[in-house]
Assembly symmetry: C2
Homo-oligomer: 187 residues x 2
């Protein structure tokens, strides 16, 4: 997993990473991004999102391929279990964001990673969304992320995780929230 040939470390092209940072430093507008999803209801709690286009680096862009994801409720929640629940995608998002940050930051600091694994747990009391109690929130009461990292000096690895947390987009949204505006065209 560890590559130090050329400018690669942890699978990260550090020369390109540093060049990208320099480009944004020179022209902050490069950093203005907009990500997008489209979702279509299938039946019951089953629906599907597609992710493809986005705006960034001052241009319209697309992913190399179109990504499509199903979401559903399991049978115990009166669904067909054709995909994870929407809230489970939040757990994937936080693990993925922190882990990508760990790889980048470790590479930038010259720290080699052998493995990064994490387990994420999210506690939720469905008495909220089911409308049984106004004292129970709808969302997760707590999320816990447990990392196991192997690689260079443990102290450096722990600091890399801390820096990844400090610069994680998903951690920021999940802990601080962000405005969500909803518009409806009903006909």
């Amino acid at each position: 997993m560890t590559m130090t040939d050329n400018n690669m470390r942890n699978g990260v092209d550090t020369a390109t990473l540093f060049a990208t940072l320099d480009a944004v430093r020179q022209n902050p507008e490069i950093g203005t991004f907009q990500f997008r999803a489209t979702n279509r209801w299938v039946s019951g709690t089953h629906n599907r999102s597609t992710l493809h286009g986005f705006y960034g680096a001052m241009q319209e862009m697309t992913h190399a391929q179109e990504f499509s994801f199903d979401a559903d409720h399991p049978a115990v929640l009166v669904g067909g279990d054709r995909g994870p629940t929407p809230v489970e995608f939040l757990l994937h998002a936080i693990a993925a964001c922190l882990t990508a940050g760990i790889a980048n930051i470790a590479a930038a600091r010259g720290v080699n990673l052998d493995s990064v694994e994490s387990t994420v747990e999210g506690d939720i009391d469905l008495n909220g969304i089911l409308g049984m109690s106004d004292e129970v929130r709808n969302g997760y009461q707590q999320i816990r992320v447990n990392f196991v990292l192997r690689g260079d000096d443990p102290e450096k690895l722990a600091k890399v995780v801390e820096q990844s947390r400090a610069r994680s987009a998903v951690f920021d949204v999940l802990t601080n929230g962000c405005p969500v505006a909803i518009s409806v065209d009903a006909g």
Copy 2:
């Protein structure tokens, strides 16, 4: 898309839905759930989460199948584009949660849906996560969800969307935030 045979409406088994609500009303502990993900770093910003087991209805449960999702950065963000970015999964999660709620609430209210489509946009300034400015937040500055619904009476449809928002787990987490605890075993 509209089924009203037996107890089915919008693909929702309303009899089972109401029975589930009754069961939770009788024993609120049934509503205590824990969702889980495991994530493994692959290389660079590419990593993969698996979703399978969860706790709910007073027992350990598993989805009918194991779900696995890749996340990565696109080339413009120095990744291999082997999956969407972590923040894009937040857009899928909010669309999926609101849409599942719309289907359930419409069914419970006897409102028939023909179609539910949504587009989601998330504005993010990467000067935050790239550490260029302490005045720019790491996460989304705003998320917009635009729904187009067709079915019964538009006024009822709009009220269904509003109730889905009011009882959405993902909307709650994204707008209000929730505690995220991170532990590290580095070696």
